[in-house]
Amino acid sequence: MSAHLLVWPIVLPLAVGALQLLLGERRRGAVAALGAASCVALVGLAVALLLRVGAGDEPAAVYRIGDWPARYGIVLVADRLSALMLLLTAVLALALLPSALGRRRRPGGPVQPLVQFLLMGLNGAFLAGDLFNLFVFFEVLLAASYGLALYRPGARRVSAGMHYIVVNLLASMLFLVGVSLIFGVTGTLNMAALAQLVPRVPDNTRALLHAGAAILGIAFLVKAAMWPLGFWLPRTYAAAPAPVAAMFAVMTKVGVYVLLRLSLLLFGGGAGAASAHFGAGWLLWGGIATVAVGVVGMLGARELGKLAGYNVLVSSGSLLGAVGLQQPAVTAGALAYLVVSTLAIAAFFLLAGLIAPREDAEGASLLEPYDPTGMALYADEDESQAGLPAPVALLAACFLVCALVLAGLPPLSGFLAKFALLAPMLGGGPGAVTLFALIVAAGLCTVIAMCRTGIQIFWADEDWVFPAIRAGEAASVVILLALCLGLTVLAEAPLRYLTDTAAQLHAPAHYIRAVLP
């Protein structure tokens, strides 16, 4: 079991998803129980992996499929960063479980198996040790995400989903072109072997290698939604069902994860004078532009879903800029910000779904003047609870916590993460200072946008009767925000782990030696 620990996070969701498909729609209890068991087991596996690689004596756990040597066979590698991302994904899936199960009254296709396949693709992408398997797992997670984004299709959802699919198919083709260019120059796709080969590439083919890496990078930047490649994101996420959009919060982070890994492994300080820090400037200024666009979009958003979508852009842009700076302290802060912002954005997508249910009020804009006929929809749904303050108070409290974490205001974990991200940027070059200023400004604008929306929802509209709160989704929101609060109290151990992770990423020799002994 412990020898095969690395392959379980991929095999388990695959098996469970297949089994759920066989069980079908009628045995919902068994399907739900299987899904819950799988999510719990994935959290357990991720914790076991994290403890194993965090112990220090073994910097990266390597699993050779079929026991072939790494240069020829397929390897799965789990270092500290992979283990962290696995844990984040598993925890998010587990926290979103109540909201997915709470919806089972309404039939609408096999959601649970798709979630399992999405988890399989995500875990595989975090564990893949070579570029081609990264491509395969990306396709697995994208195929599952197409199905989830189109769950219970309406005209708006199908149109947004179609754009999403076309953009991602194109990005996958760029991915393949980049992979084959890199293979043509170096003759290998194993990431550790590539890291060894990059400093030794002859000068006449180095330009080709850089072109391949740049094309590959564009494919990931589409996923990470860097401006101007992220135009599809707010629309798709706003149109997707709330629990699905919450799960998608981790998907932009996959792009950031790969960019972080590849830029530090292949083009870190040890890549030789010609290739060191290749693309770092693009990531930095692209991230800055993304934050700026996200802030403008956030201030102009007229729907809660879009507001959450632009929050994703801001978070993604901050992370990309931080990756572009390539300093260990900034990377550690960026990882903390990645974890906290993923949890908070997921909670915010769920809250948006609770406050303005999308199936009922497609495209309802909250900042319009009060419209009695539109609001009658909500009153019908929930006459028994009308005037009850408890659910509204719960939602408002969650909204407040969410806003504090997203804006990075003290005393919650959003502040700690932003502080860890921003403090090392001071005293850097002009790019670092610009990014610093923009992230601070983005925090302020988040406060403005969230305040305005909160006032419109909770105070301004006296006649607005809240829709019935679905217990499952409320439970998910509370779990996610409790995690954010827990990270505030117990910040020390995670931050130490993240500092070690960043140090390991910036000194990839251990990773290379573990994969290619």
Partner: protein, 112 residues
């Protein structure tokens, strides 16, 4: 042979991009298909072109007489995945046609 292949890839990719930018969903899917042909050919030729060479090794053979088998394995995987995702996209295209009543990519027909 290299020149012919390069021209073929270029023409396929060019047609694919042009079709991809058209407003009808059917043109978009044909464009995506052409682009994926171009990408598959590109992967296939990245290991170097060679006529009549064997990718599977036999004992005691001269390695220089063999063609690189890895791009062939890669292209096989890419073809399978590309085919599957295109089929999926076709379903979405039909759903969009059924829901909106036209085949414009934005779901509303603004152009004549």
């Amino acid at each position: 042979m290299e020149l012919v292949l390069a021209l073929a890839i270029g023409v396929l990719a060019g047609c694919g991009v042009w079709l991809l930018l058209r407003p009808r969903t059917f043109q978009v899917i044909i464009g995506l298909t052409l682009l994926s042909y171009a990408v598959n050919l590109f992967i296939f030729c990245i290991g170097g072109l060679r006529t009549g060479a064997d990718p599977v090794l036999r004992d005691g053979a001269d390695l220089s007489q063999y063609t690189d088998p890895l791009p062939q394995a890669l292209v096989l995987t890419a073809i399978v995945i590309g085919f599957a995702t295109t089929a999926l996209f076709l379903v979405v295209l039909l759903a969009s046609r059924g829901l909106t009543g036209n085949d414009h990519v934005d779901g509303k027909d603004g152009t004549p």
